[in-house]
Amino acid sequence: MTTPIAICALLLATILVPPASAEDLSTVQWQTNYDDPPIGDLAALKGGTLHTYMRAYPLTLRLVGPNANDGFASWKRAFTMDFGLVTRHPTTDNYVPWMATHWSVQDDKRTLYFKLDPDARWNDGKPVTATDYVHTLHMMQSENIVDPFYNQYAAEHYEEVVAIEPYLLKIVGKFESWRPLDMFSLWPTPAHAVNFDEGFPERYNTAILPVPGPYVLSEQEAGQYVVFNRLQDWWGKDKHYWRGMYNPDRIRIRVIDDSDRAFDFFKKGELSLYTVNTARKWAEEMEFEATENGWAHRRRLFIDYPSGVYGFAMNLERSIFQNKDFRKAIQYLFNFDEINEKLMFNAYYRAVSAFTGTEYQNPELKPYGFDPKKAREHLRKAGYSKRGEDGILVNGEGNRAAFTFSYGSKGLERHMTVVKQVFKRFGIDMDLRLLEPGTAFRNGLEREYEMTLMGRTAGRFPGPHQYYASVFKETKNNNNIWFYGAAHTDSLIDVYRFGMDKSRRIQAMHELDTILQDEAFYVPFWQAPFMRFLYWDYVCFPSFFFPKRIQQMTDWQVFWIDQDKKRALSDAMDAGRSLGRDPVIDIDPYEVKDRLEAAMKAAGGG
């Protein structure tokens, strides 16, 4: 029985795998880059345990499928998905070798070749080969993973992925792009350990699969904690860009369901790091024994990462917002500074652009700013010049200047009730309507709203097409929730999408940014281009703390534990001896704060 099957398999294999000669790679120009500085600090010490927390115990250890995108995902991904073929250096932005040592982008801007690192090993000792990347695509395509997001992602992004040789991979994207390496990169999935037959989600729910990264999940106690252990002989430990990264021997992540409780745990010394996520806490609760004695440090690290879209969206399909003057009046009546000062401890910065935090943001743009006089001029032009019995403006046709603001987050109510009162004072009636979060989001996509909160996290590069291209006006369920689009802006967006000349792309986006601001259908709210965190004295960081492009601590693990400092700290704490209060709070290695404050000053003057 075995022989015929083997023969069949052999036959199949010859049919399915194209002979290497089909690809003529002699003309391919290979690229690599070992010239950028390492991401971490070469002085970093290995060893020790990092204690941190997560809000909930992971529902699954899978990377795809139901419940895979939970709070634990960033940890899982840090040691698996983040090991893609190439990556952008988080400080220099250049492509650097990651799982592949060399790469090549063809003229069609969508065909890519990769030479894989032959040293790469799964932690079970098996080599990471090209088939493991093909396997990832097959996984994403499989209906058995029960993950429509990845099914769709695969369908939209990949034409084909071919294992030409064990260490030679070809990827063809679905569309051309000026950054195909970002668009079409893949991470490996262990082909020898994962199959996508029926029952995939259940089978791999709690399975600990081989990983290419430096940490393996080694201990877990359901509902309590998980521990990642560092592989002492990890294949990548001496690779140029990984030196100085991934330092602690153990990362212990315990479940603490509430960030305030976690703060108490930190103060007791049971967590090494703590990210502070509210302005109030940052302003009012940072003085405690450990910080006063210099046993722990507080830092606000300014980072350079796009802030995405966060602000109020007006629906241009609704008649009240079809009038540009009315929209501008709304812009001028939004008193960001007051809200920031009175409700948010002046902790945040005003976002101005549709592309805040990227080089595509037009630096010339100034926020509208709170200006009731200009607002009134625009309201007059929009036909609202008379106040009705209730003090709300009415236009010539007797329509009140009234609309509904729908939102899905109760936390926003604090800000919106204040905005509402200001609007009311100047004759505009804004009704507030809290919806269940999912409904609010869906109503946005279906343009079933008048004004709503639009919040989208950003990738490294803006996506103007999905937000402002007129093709999306014809359909619903897309990110063009404002119903905007014009021929001229479409052409600008195309310059960005397909142009290979960076300066022209930037020029086009700056122009688009100006037009979008003038169209005034999006009121940008705040940006928080920083990470606020606390850490005990024994946790060490490079002089620059973290690379420039970082969103959360798990992204780039450059910190380390200093055992000597840990002993010294515990001696000092036992003796009640102060190490001297650390006066430094703000860290701005990338001059983000300087830039923002200069821009604010310019806006204030203008």
Binding site: R387, T417, K420, R433, L434
Partner: protein
């Protein structure tokens, strides 16, 4: 009005039950007072005498131009600032005057005239402090009370009217109608009330009336149980048979004979139903699916007090918790007294 002797006796007994009676007096007074909330806590003046004309701005918008005011942007069509007006009139020595409410703050407008971001603790300006949006806690408590109590009473009335109707019909008609309607009620009562509210809130804009309707859809059920059994029992009693044998119409039978004799559960349940209704509205507001922001509401106040960032802002929790506890206590005491006053056992002589 003719009050039959039994009822009179019950009322007398109720008055004698001091605890319940005084609770009733207090609650009625508070409720009546709350009707005049707009004259107690408001940014708008009660009366303005300006250039020999009287203005009553409580329920009417007057712009600054009316009183010759201007704001910092040179606008005169925004709402008049009555507190500033009062100040100005005092200083200029004219015959103009302004009568401001006891508490010159409404439950909506934030007061940002503090160095520290809100919430700010109680002081002479804001007796109960300000909430996390800088609004006066006392004003919100007061208006919140009015909304809670009137919502609860309306809801209970709606529920009892429908519940009594359905319950009496079940009891009186019996048979197939009873069987089918009872099955319907069983199914209906298993609907998850909260989810229905959240679901409907996505289609309709929540308002006082809408919430009343939605909650009314569920409120009547409990009443039917009592009325059904009461009527079932009463209709077989001799007086009923006698009335029937006299040829009393069905209508007369129900309204003249049966219902008056079935009132006891209705009356005794009412206070507790009100407690339930206040709690439900508070719970809904707490979750954010009650009356839309910025309607003053106790649930919303509790939500603020419970927020982790306000853990140490004790005044935020003291005010609404005390208000709710006191109100619920008063209603419960009334309920207890009513039940005691209506207790038929008083008449029963067991030998």
């Amino acid at each position: 009005m003719r009050i039959d002797p039994i009822t009179r006796k019950r009322l007398r007994r109720f008055r004698r039950l001091k605890r319940g009676y005084y609770s009733f007096v207090i609650l009625t007074t508070l409720t009546t007072l709350s009707l005049f909330s707009d004259y107690i806590a408001n940014r708008r003046a009660i009366v303005v005498s300006y250039q020999d004309a009287l203005y009553f701005p409580t329920f009417k918008f007057h712009d600054m131009a009316t009183f010759g005011q201007q704001d910092e942007y040179g606008f005169d069509d925004v709402e008049a600032d009555y507190a500033a007006l009062q100040q100005a009139f005092r200083e200029d020595g004219s015959d103009n005057w302004v009568l401001m409410p006891l508490v010159p703050f409404d439950p909506y407008e934030p007061d940002f005239d503090y160095d520290h971001p809100p919430p700010n603790p109680p002081d002479t300006r804001h007796w109960f402090g300000t909430d996390s949006q800088g609004r006066d806690v006392f004003a919100r408590l007061l208006y919140g009370f009015r909304i809670s109590i009137f919502f609860a009473v309306s809801l209970v009335v709606v529920g009892e009217v429908i519940g009594t109707m359905v319950g009496s019909m079940q009891g009186f008609l019996g048979g197939r109608f009873d069987m089918f309607s009872q099955r319907f009620i069983e199914v209906w009562s298993t609907l998850p009330f909260l989810y229905v509210v959240i679901l409907l809130a996505t289609f309709f804009k929540p308002s006082f009336i809408l919430l009343l309707i939605i909650m009314g859809l569920f409120e009547w059920i409990r009443m039917t149980y009592y009325m059904r059994t009461e009527i079932y029992r009463e209709k077989t009693k001799e007086y009923c048979l006698a009335a029937r044998s006299f040829g009393a119409s069905r209508q007369r039978l129900i309204f003249r004979h049966l219902l008056p004799n079935c009132m006891t559960p209705l009356v005794t349940i009412t206070p507790f139903a009100i407690v339930g209704a206040i709690s439900s509205l508070t719970a809904l507001d707490y979750l954010g699916y009650g009356l839309p922001a910025p309607t003053p509401s106790w649930g919303e106040m509790i939500d603020q007090a419970m927020a982790s960032s306000n853990r140490d802002k004790i005044w935020l929790s003291v005010a609404p918790f005390t208000a709710i506890s006191v109100t619920l206590l008063l209603v419960t005491l009334i309920g207890e007294a009513v039940r005691e006053a209506f207790d038929p056992k008083q008449y029963a002589h067991y030998t």
